[in-house]
């Protein structure tokens, strides 16, 4: 009787031994996850995402928290409300979120009056079968889904920046082939307007000069 007990114990041990060694090896191995990677030295945003991911929450939640932190802190001025006024002095937001497991995507483009860009993108992903909502439609959707708004997204800094630009005859700007070339408009096409035949037939070349406006503090 005792011998059979012994053999049962031995076989159970032999059964679990590989599992134990594997678990031990796993524990010994440096942990790989979670990982947070972000453009630019937006330290607080990465910390915010890390806190969420390290608590065991999903990657999607961590991305929302990380990008949200950047929107609130405005990071380098190119994220969130209060920056990058357009020709009318208005700030609008673009945002995108993508779940790499389900390949679901939510995005908002040129969204006005709502300051929570990434949360709005997440709402598009969660509560619509669409991928991208734009303009005031995106704002209305986000507000209807519970985000605060409408509110003015400009800031004293962005308005001052815009007024200075206006005083400098709206230069530089993103207009091309228009008159007046050095003024604030209204703008008209320089040659022939809608006459598409003005397009030359010779082999085109890529004409691109980096817009003077684009740079480390003015980009997407």
């Amino acid at each position: 009787m005792a011998r059979s007990y012994l053999s049962i114990i031995l076989s159970t041990l032999l059964l679990f031994l590989p599992l134990l060694t594997a678990a031990e090896a796993e524990l010994g191995k440096p942990k790989k996850f979670p990982v947070v990677v972000s453009t630019w030295p937006f330290i607080e945003a990465v910390r915010a995402a890390w806190r969420v991911a390290n608590n065991g929450s999903s990657a999607v939640e961590a991305v929302v928290e990380g990008c949200s932190a950047c929107e609130e802190l405005r990071c380098d001025g190119t994220v969130g409300p209060g920056g990058s006024p357009n020709e009318n002095g208005e700030t609008m937001l673009d945002a995108l979120i993508m779940d790499g497991v389900t390949m679901e995507v939510g995005a908002v483009a040129a969204m006005r009056y709502v300051k929570d860009g990434i949360r709005a993108a997440w709402l598009v992903m969660k509560h619509s079968q669409h991928t991208l909502l734009a303009g005031e439609g995106a704002s209305a959707f986000a507000i209807s889904m519970g985000l605060p708004g409408p509110m003015n997204l400009s800031s004293p800094e962005s308005l001052k920046k815009w007024l200075d630009w206006k005083e400098n005859r709206c230069q530089p700007n993103f207009r091309k082939n228009v008159v007046p070339a050095n003024g604030c408009g209204p703008y008209k096409p320089k040659h022939g307007g809608m006459d598409v035949s003005t397009e030359s037939c010779e082999m085109g070349t890529i004409e691109y000069r980096l817009p003077p406006l684009v740079g480390p503090h003015n980009h997407d």
């Binding site: 330290i43 945003a45 990380g66 990008c67 357009n86 673009d94 993103f174 480390p216």
Partner: protein, 136 residues
């Protein structure tokens, strides 16, 4: 622009971008921020990517989709990032932009053109966020 990729404890990947776009843009202009495949892209089987730069140009090349597909074909993150940026620079030598790639194992790398780029990382083997600098 912030473009972020996260791999959670389960090894699942998500990416996101948020931006207020270019300054003094023509009203109605949308950059590549909200364009899946341009400013960010992810596929759990491969990895993720974030990008930043002149969205008017980058939107025409979908650099992050290219990065993920290159990693799917076997490229390492650094090679995939450089390849995606060089494809744009070949057509637009004056463009400014950068991408950061991370594969499904958490290996990461960046590439840029027209400016010096920095990206931030936090993983379990770090005490805090680390900033990596990438030269064009």
């Amino acid at each position: 622009t912030i473009s972020m990729a996260v791999i959670d404890k389960m090894g699942h990947i998500a990416v996101g971008t948020s931006t207020n776009g270019a300054t003094f843009k023509i009203p109605g202009r949308v950059g590549d921020g909200p364009i899946a495949g341009s400013s960010a892209y992810a596929d759990d089987e491969v990895g993720g990517c974030g990008a930043t730069g002149d969205g008017d140009i980058m939107m025409r090349f979908l650099p992050c989709y290219q990065v993920v597909e290159s990693m799917r074909q076997g490229m390492k993150p650094e090679q995939a990032a450089k390849d995606a940026v060089s494809r744009i620079a070949r057509k637009f030598p004056d463009f400014v932009g950068a991408v950061v790639a991370v594969d499904k194992n958490g290996s990461h790398a960046g590439a840029c053109h027209g400016w010096t780029f920095q990206y931030s990382v936090r993983d379990p083997n770090m005490d805090d966020v680390q900033v990596f600098t990438v030269l064009p």
